[in-house]
């Protein structure tokens, strides 16, 4: 129920009915998208688009933080690969709590 694709807002204008529309770029193709539900959108923002409507703004900061965590996890996973000569060391209690892929906001 949710083909939502992130795209970059190139330009913003109002259509004949006074609805805010954006020209959004998806890997080089563009589509006109209704921005009425994200009134704060600026050109350069990335938005999630579903059936021609922007439903959510992509937070670059959250994405970056998730990635940082992903990277740490990747390194951790590499470090903690089981050695061929014995059982794995230190399974639980990994530092830096990499489990929080995102976090609840207060």
């Amino acid at each position: 129920m949710c083909l939502g694709v992130p795209g970059k807002v190139l330009e913003i204008q109002e259509n004949a009915l006074g609805m805010t529309m954006g020209k959004v770029d998806f890997g080089g193709i563009t589509k006109d998208v209704c921005l009425a539900y994200l009134p704060e959108t600026r050109p350069g923002d990335y938005v999630i688009v579903h059936v021609g409507f922007a439903i959510s703004k992509v937070s670059e900061q959250e994405a970056a933080e998730t990635f940082e965590i992903l990277r740490q996890m990747g390194e951790l996973a590499e470090l903690e690969e089981p050695r061929p000569d014995g059982p794995e060391a230190g399974a639980a209690g990994t530092p830096a709590d990499p489990g929080r892929g995102g976090r609840e906001r207060a």
Binding site: C2, I48, V51, I55, L70, M73, E104
Partner: protein, 362 residues
């Protein structure tokens, strides 16, 4: 493509698989709500990368699959009327009704057109004032803002020839129906990321508390799903319940307030029948009285519809996660995408179709 490719990396996916393997100490049963998530799991082969201890059951998050047979038959009847253009998302065109499907109606001369957005249907109504334009408004909460805007626009324009056939369904009541069923085996959920982008995750907090389950709001790319599974498994292993947000780049706790506002203006909750499951109270949307003029069900009298499901189809059990597609006796035999018995075999989001296309072995 930015914010897409980064979540399809092999190294990152493998890293999560290793972490999941390490975290799991006993069997767990997880359900991903959304058909789009099912699609990614199976198409990317990620479901097979998970350790055997984790069982994934596919939930009813396919609005196409759960649209009641009567409504499909009604859409088919409307499409067959002269002077009517029936517009629809692509997914609905091949879903079987009692006797035929919308593509079948098109083959016999009905004007059935695929659109990308409900606003395209409104444009069509403006372009063809002499025709009746009906939009088959299917979807979960993700699509409701778009459908609401289409109706609101049509009202603003005073379009006399536009209406919608409404088949909106809501996730939280469905989750409660699943969790409340005595046959339920699901222990943790991956909630639908884009539904939550619109609605936020506040509605899931009481569900998590009441039924004592972890619910992880999850995205749709392979790494999102693996991260979601990892968070769910960790919560289960640690005995934690509550809502976590894996899809933080697109989802906030409150969701999209502007979208919710227009949805509430145009729609109101109602009881809805889910194909294969039955009526779930307050699990759907219908148009509010102020917008009743745009209700195609009221506008078109297509006579009595008696819907007939195939007795062989166990779609309801599949949609509730009680059976997997290949456990159905008709799977791949009487029921294939070319001649489906039920919606989950046709809709690209349906669990049966996903299994058939991506996971069936020789």
């Amino acid at each position: 493509m930015r914010f897409v490719d980064e979540y399809r990396g092999e190294a990152d996916a493998q890293a999560y698989v290793r972490l999941i393997r390490r975290a799991v100490t006993r069997p767990w049963i997880l359900m991903e709500i959304c058909g789009g998530q099912t699609h990614t799991f199976i198409r990317s082969g990620v479901d097979r990368m998970l350790p055997e201890a984790i069982t994934l059951v596919h939930g009813p998050g396919c609005p196409v699959c759960v649209t009641p047979l009567e409504l499909i038959d009604r859409a088919i009847a409307i499409a067959g009327r002269p002077g009517t253009i029936l517009t629809s998302f692509g997914d609905m065109l091949r879903v079987p009704g009692s006797a035929t499907d919308l593509l079948g109606v098109k083959a016999r001369g009905g004007d059935v057109r695929m659109v990308y957005s409900p606003l395209d249907a409104v444009k069509l109504a403006q372009k063809h004032p002499e025709r009746e334009v009906v939009f088959f408004a299917v979807g979960f909460e993700t699509t409701a803002p778009a459908n609401a805007m289409a109706v609101w626009q049509a009202a603003k324009l005073g379009l006399p020839n536009f209406s919608i056939l409404c088949s909106h369904v809501l996730v939280p009541p469905a989750m409660e129906a699943i969790l409340g069923s005595p046959a339920n085996r699901v222990q943790g959920f991956l909630a639908a990321g884009h539904v939550c982008a619109v609605m936020g995750w506040m509605e899931y907090e009481p569900i998590a508390e009441r039924y004592r389950v972890p619910i992880v709001v999850t995205g749709f790319e392979p790494v999102d799903l693996l991260q979601g599974v990892y968070l769910a498994v960790r919560a289960l292993e640690e005995g934690r319940v509550g809502v976590e947000n894996q899809y933080a780049r697109a989802v906030t706790r409150e969701g999209n307030v502007a979208a919710q506002r227009l949805m509430r203006e145009v729609f109101e909750p109602c009881d809805r029948a889910w194909r294969g499951i039955g009526v779930i109270p307050r699990s759907g949307f219908r148009l509010r009285p102020a917008y009743a003029a745009f209700d195609a069900e009221k506008r078109f009298d297509v006579g009595a519809i008696t819907a007939q499901e195939s007795p062989l189809c166990i779609a309801g059990q599949v949609l509730q996660g009680l059976k997997k597609p290949h456990e159905c006796a008709a799977f791949g035999v009487q029921c294939k995408p070319e001649h489906p018995l039920g919606a989950p075999m046709v809709s690209s989001e349906g669990a049966c179709a996903a299994y058939y296309h991506y996971a069936r072995s020789a």
